[in-house]
């Protein structure tokens, strides 16, 4: 009975997990297919081996009809030479299953290098600045006494309740008045501080034993020294978690960069990809390739820092 239950458990979890990651698998496999294969019916999961020859300056896929000793006979499968029968030397026929060149084609069909740079630059500046401003503010709220402390903290928390769309329009107007629309300033400056990060760090700083602070004070440490030499080294985990969250949120954000940028050269990866999707129509293989290389950096980071991620989320949910 217990054994049966276990098998059932793993069956349910296994099937569900596969459903969860199926879109990723389908994305990668489609990105390696030929256009014809990508819309084949019935759909094919694993691309099949295909034969290619050079013909009139372009590479054409051929269906092999006859395999002679030295020469092979085949028919061109698609394109303007479709149906043409060719007899070619055996060594001129190239066999390929996975079309890795789809990636190169996709990369070249839009300025993805620039999109990557814009996203990376925005995410790094936002993350570093947010960690700095949040650590300072969190330290003040956790370890210093000052007038209006509680009122200020309540005001901060109240801003968490306000939906983002309320401040979207005024922020756009403010940026427009500053003349910052379509600049890196618009992408980064409004996000250089975050209430959530301050709150998250303050929780952590408060858990640091009081004795350490008294000792630092006796040793004559200034607050700046206490923060940089005691608090920060003790809080690397919260810095990593907050940093990862900020980075991901910035990297994945779509609405903000969509609104505050107009010119193609200012597009972030998410905006660029969305435009690419809407403009390149039905070129599924290249669309999937572009999606794959856009997702790759974050997925790699996720696998490297998986434990921190999950623990970070767990602790964010346990607050209150």
């Amino acid at each position: 009975m217990k054994r049966l239950w276990k098998i059932l458990l793993h069956f349910i979890l296994g099937v569900s997990s596969l459903i969860m990651i199926m879109p990723f698998i389908w994305m990668v496999l489609t990105s390696l297919k030929s256009p014809a294969e990508s819309i084949a019916f019935p759909p094919k999961w694993i691309p099949s081996a295909k034969y290619y020859v050079s013909y009139e300056n372009s590479t054409e896929e051929i269906i092999i009809k006859e395999k002679g000793k030295d020469t092979w006979k085949g028919i061109i499968k698609a394109g303007r030479n479709r149906g043409k029968v060719l007899t070619v030397k055996k060594e001129d026929v190239h066999k390929k299953r996975f079309l890795w060149e789809n990636y190169l084609k996709a990369w070249k069909s839009a300025p993805f290098g620039l999109y990557f740079f814009n996203s990376f630059f925005t995410a790094v500046v936002t993350t570093v600045a947010q960690l700095l401003t949040s650590a300072l503010a969190a330290y003040a709220f956790a370890k210093l006494d000052f007038p209006l402390k509680n009122i200020l903290f309540v005001i901060l928390l109240a801003t968490l309740m306000v939906p983002k769309q309320v401040i979207l329009i005024p922020n756009y107007v403010i940026l427009a008045k500053l003349g910052w629309i379509d600049t890196y300033k618009a992408l980064t400056v409004p996000w250089l501080a975050s209430v959530f990060s301050i709150y998250f760090m303050r929780q952590y700083f408060e858990s640091i034993p009081k004795d350490l602070f008294s000792a630092a004070k006796i040793d004559g440490c200034t607050h700046w020294q206490t923060l940089t030499q005691i608090v920060i080294p003790l809080s690397t985990s919260v810095f990593v978690t907050t940093g990862l969250f900020t980075f991901i949120a910035s990297w994945n954000s779509l609405l903000w960069p969509l609104i505050v940028t107009n010119s193609p050269s200012m597009r972030t990866l998410q905006v660029g990809l969305t435009v690419f999707n809407q403009e390149s129509g039905t070129n599924w293989t290249q669309l999937m390739a572009a999606s794959t290389f856009s997702l790759a950096p974050l997925i790699i980071v996720f696998f490297l820092a998986q434990k921190t991620f999950i623990e970070g989320i767990a602790s964010s949910g346990l607050k209150e």
Binding site: A140, P163, W224, L255, L258, I310
Partner: protein
Amino acid sequence: MRTFQRGRQRIHKDFLSDAETAFLFLVPAFLIIFIFQIFPMFYALKLSFFRWDMITPKHFVGFKNYLNLFSEKEFWQSLGNTFYYVIVSIPFGLGLSLFFAILLQKGIRMLSFYRTSFFLPYITSMAAIAIVWLWIFNPNKYGLLNYALNFFHIEPQKWLQSPILAMPAVIVVLIWKNLGFNIIIFLTRLENINSSFYESAEIDGANKWQQFWKITFPLLTPTTAFLLTMSTIFAFQVFASIYVLTPSGGPKNATTTIIFYLYKNAYQQFRMGYASAIAYVTFFIILIISLIQKKLLKTNYEE
């Protein structure tokens, strides 16, 4: 500034008082938060009483934006769509995540593989993965879902291009995306439930089903409440997923939610005052729902 001097340590008192240090430490964060979060809240309120296209001067209209809003058919439709989305996606999303969290208890084999699979969509950018979902929901017979239905001899469906099926399709994608987050939160709480509760329940002869309803479920209430509030706020703000799956707001506006309606008005038609009024109405709806949820869950928990 001497306070910021590192290295040699000084025995005498800090150059700045606590309050002065706090002030310096808070300035950078508060400057940004004030300009880009607190001030805009009031500015949006002001804008909601004006007619403004960002080019011609602002024109005070009193409550006209709000009145127009309530008489606009598309507003009610987008509000209806939002509620449809909230009412369907949240119970399904939370129910499924609780179900999987219970199955994923500590000590089972391959836990980390399962956990990773469930969590991966959460960190995935919607703009990138949307293309796969567009394929899955492709209205042609080679669309993956239509292909699967073919086995059951069901006709190909139009999915995202059908006024009836577009919203359910969007809901499926969003549940898929957020499931992992909810599972992790539930899982953490489940792991912290004292095992002695279950041990004494076993002794009293309670079966697993009774244990779930009498122990696990009540103890999870604060977590469920947290997730419910978070999911509701999140659901009202959902934009990216809808924008990438149905860029025009769906067939017959079927997937135009309230924030999508706001986006259209503000950034396609430049009705800034009107859009600000939408924002404030949404804000109040979220506020009221959060308060109701808080009240309901509290009374339930105390009983």
